[in-house]
């Protein structure tokens, strides 16, 4: 992809580059590679995610210099792992900032990646030729979830222990091999010192593997090129722009907005996104109400929604196995997405039905998160702000309707139906709007209404535009 001759005139850079042509590759991708010229702000979250990975690795490295993975308890009944985290916060210079930048950073890393993922879903960025790009993204998501879970366990607070206990238990749902896998994960029968030490080792190792996958993700992107809000391919040099300086400046602006919010949370609400009870060292009793970190809630909801066993002609699949299967399936199905979606049109801008299905899917993830956060078997509670958004009216302290079970099953069905039913069927029957001939052709009026006049004007100017 890089030119055969070094683009540098500085003797040092030129000499270096002629021996290891890595600089010319970067130079090429920044200045010569063709990016679509119409990428909007939703495209900022890729680079933000990359920067967040760096922030996490750098802060994590310094935290690891002070952390002690030991469950040994002192005379106060406080274990050494928990004490070392508090030692970082109280005694290490700048330690409180390091620790909160890291723990809040986990949430913000997920926020960036979730926006990035839903952007991909909305604009059809997973479709050919970007299937591998999408699959690498799915690998990144699963690695992130694993790393976040491992890191959460390291605090060895009340919820750390519960998380380690419950999540390692999930693997016993696997027939035959389950117990051996459990032993392998825990390093013994119980959730104990051996588990904490291997979790620390893995929490240190996996981010570097993640970084490797991220590099593959970026290399794939360089080969297949960026998708864009219109979802039509680049046709000519009229459609393109180089990354630098246009997108470098756009990314710096987006990154600044993101970091302003991130830093404000670190300063004023560093514990807001975490479970309070985890600030207490574990006494090895499970708390009455076990919840994971917010970014794992939808999957946790799917895991615990099955309270019944399935009997197929004498072959019994227990509720626990169903839950584990469904949770695995909810992640696994993402890998098949490029082949489940039958529509040749990428962008939801031209797919009115898919657009509704998409927002339904976003809502599904929010509802499943609420289900995951609430005690199963009890009435489902819709908090006031969400009630206002969803239902358009307010109740004093939120309101209650149905059980968490019912909401969980209903929205889990939508989660799977979105991929298995809507994706293939919509592609076959949906009447899509006419695509523009290219990125540089006059763009269709925005989908957000507000443009009957603009639409008429555009229709007068060009015979293409809307089909509906």
């Amino acid at each position: 992809m890089a030119g055969s001759r070094s683009p540098f005139t500085n003797p040092f850079l030129k000499g270096f580059d002629e021996r290891l042509p890595i600089l010319r590759a970067v130079h090429y991708s920044m200045t010569k590679h063709a990016y679509p010229k119409n990428l909007n702000y939703w495209w900022n979250f890729g680079s933000i995610s990359g920067i967040m990975l760096l922030v996490m690795i750098v802060t994590g490295l310094f935290l690891a210099m002070h952390y002690k993975p030991s469950v040994q308890e002192d005379t106060y009944g406080i274990n050494q792992a928990f004490r070392s985290v508090e030692h970082i916060m109280r005694d290490v210079k700048g330690g409180m900032f390091l620790r909160y930048i890291h723990s809040v950073g986990a949430s913000f890393f997920f926020i960036a990646v979730i926006f990035h993922l839903f952007r991909s879903l909305y604009y059809g960025s997973y479709k050919a030729p970007r299937e591998l790009l999408w699959i690498l993204g799915c690998v990144i998501l699963i690695l992130m979830m694993a790393i976040a879970f491992l890191g959460y366990s390291l605090v060895w607070g009340v919820m750390s222990f519960a998380a380690a206990e419950v999540i390692t238990q999930v693997f016993t749902a696997i027939p035959v091999l389950g117990d051996d896998i459990l032993m392998l994960l825990r390093g013994g029968e119980d959730v104990d010192d051996a588990l904490l030490n291997r979790f620390f080792a893995l929490h240190f190792l996996l981010p570097f593997i993640l970084a490797g996958v991220v590099i593959l993700h970026i290399l794939t992107l360089q080969t297949v090129g960026s998708n864009n809000p219109l979802g039509v391919d680049i046709k000519s040099k009229k459609d393109t722009v180089s990354f630098h300086p246009y997108y470098t400046f756009k990314d710096i602006f987006g990154l600044s907005v993101f970091f302003t919010i991130y830093m404000a949370v670190v300063a004023w609400a560093p514990e807001r996104l975490a479970e309070a009870i985890n600030n207490q060292p574990t006494d090895y009793n499970l708390p009455s109400h076990i919840v994971p970190e917010w970014y794992l809630l939808p999957f946790y909801a799917i895991l615990k929604v099955f309270t019944w066993d399935l009997n197929i002609f004498g072959l019994v699949i227990t509720g626990k196995q169903l839950g584990a299967l469904a949770m695995g399936g909810s992640l696994g199905i993402l890998f098949l997405l490029p082949w489940l979606d039958t529509s040749p049109v990428r962008s939801a801008r031209f797919r009115p039905l898919y657009r509704m299905a998409f927002w339904g899917f976003v809502l599904t993830c929010v509802i499943l998160a609420l289900v995951g956060a609430q005690t199963s078997g009890e009435a489902f509670f819709i908090p006031t702000p969400l009630g206002r958004i969803l239902l358009g009216f307010e109740a004093e302290n939120g309101f209650v309707w149905g059980s968490t079970q019912q909401w969980g099953v209903l929205f889990m069905l939508y989660y799977f139906a979105f991929f298995i039913v809507l994706m293939p069927v919509l592609g076959l029957f949906e009447r899509t709007r006419t695509l523009p001939a290219s990125i540089s052709e006059p763009v269709l009026p925005s989908s957000q209404g507000g443009g009957a006049v603009a639409a008429a004007a555009a229709a007068a100017a060009k015979p293409m535009t809307k089909a509906d």
């Binding site: 702000y41 005379t75 040099k237 722009v241 602006f253 207490q280």
Partner: protein, 272 residues
């Protein structure tokens, strides 16, 4: 899905994040915890040092017979803004407080012994260890170092719990009644008659005042560097806001230049 939509979606996401900010409720009873006004909340929230000193006094009087502060070093007490005598430092005050405590250790003859506390020690536990505590009370009283961070509602929760006792309620042996937690194994820390109890600084020691002061103190033990973080936050967020504004205009200028160049000659040739 332009910038406006992005902003709308971001604010919807912020509203969802605020879900957790709904009034704190205790799990068992649904009793909702009133939020109190504290000096340490808000963007410029800071501790009232006099209040922390009073809170320490209440901790020493009413809590430390059962509860430890195993993560709080005596040296940190030097920062509580004591009124100092000529030539005295905060560290001297902290040293004096530390020396009042007996710290268990193993002496040169290998025997269990105690020595006066020094700055580097943490508040000792009167009950010694979890096993002895459990043997004595049936349930080990938790360490209070991080208590204000480990309950939903934080300081408001602790204040509600401390002021929630009602001894008139019938309870089984060894249990007490509290509005926040109806069956609680922690006894009412307040004696029925506190009329002759007073603070060293002369503040009127009502039950609410004592509860408020010790809660503020426990918030400090859980989050001692809150003020530093708030000050840091002001500087960092103002810097980031400035960077946001500058980078926005820089982006607009670059965008205008790039746009006119694209109009004239187009962008890079796509690789086909």
């Amino acid at each position: 899905m332009r910038f406006g939509t992005l902003i709308k979606t971001l604010s919807a996401a912020a509203a969802l994040m605020a879900l957790t900010a709904a009034p704190a409720q205790t799990e068992e009873t649904g009793y909702s915890i009133d939020s109190q006004s504290w000096t340490f909340t808000g963007p410029l929230g800071h501790y009232d040092e006099r209040q922390l000193q009073r809170g320490l006094y209440i901790y020493q009087t009413r809590c430390q017979a059962c509860h430890s502060l195993g993560l709080v070093r005596f040296s940190s007490l030097g920062e509580l803004g004591w009124e100092l005598l000529e030539g005295q430092t905060g560290e001297d005050v902290a040293k004096a407080i530390a020396s009042n405590y007996e710290i268990p250790y193993i002496n040169d003859d290998g025997e269990n012994d105690t020595r006066p506390g020094v700055l580097n020690d943490t508040f000792p536990w009167a009950l010694g260890n979890p096993k002895r505590a459990t043997a004595t009370y049936g349930k080990s009283p938790p360490d209070l170092s991080t208590m204000a961070r480990s309950r939903i509602g934080g300081a408001d929760y602790i204040y509600a719990l401390l002021t929630g006792y009602d001894d008139a309620h019938e309870q089984p042996e060894g249990a007490y009644y509290n509005k926040v937690m109806p069956v609680i194994s922690m006894p009412n820390p307040w004696p029925a008659d506190m009329s002759d109890f007073e603070y060293p600084d002369g503040t009127v020691a009502t039950l609410e005042q004592q509860a408020r002061d010790v809660t503020a103190f426990l918030n400090w033990t859980a989050d001692p560097y809150l003020e530093a973080r708030h000050k840091w936050g002001i500087v960092v967020v103002l810097y980031m806001l400035a960077l946001t504004i500058v980078s926005f205009f820089a982006y607009r200028i670059v965008a205008a230049q790039v746009h006119s160049r694209l109009e004239a000659e187009g962008g890079p040739e796509p690789d086909h």
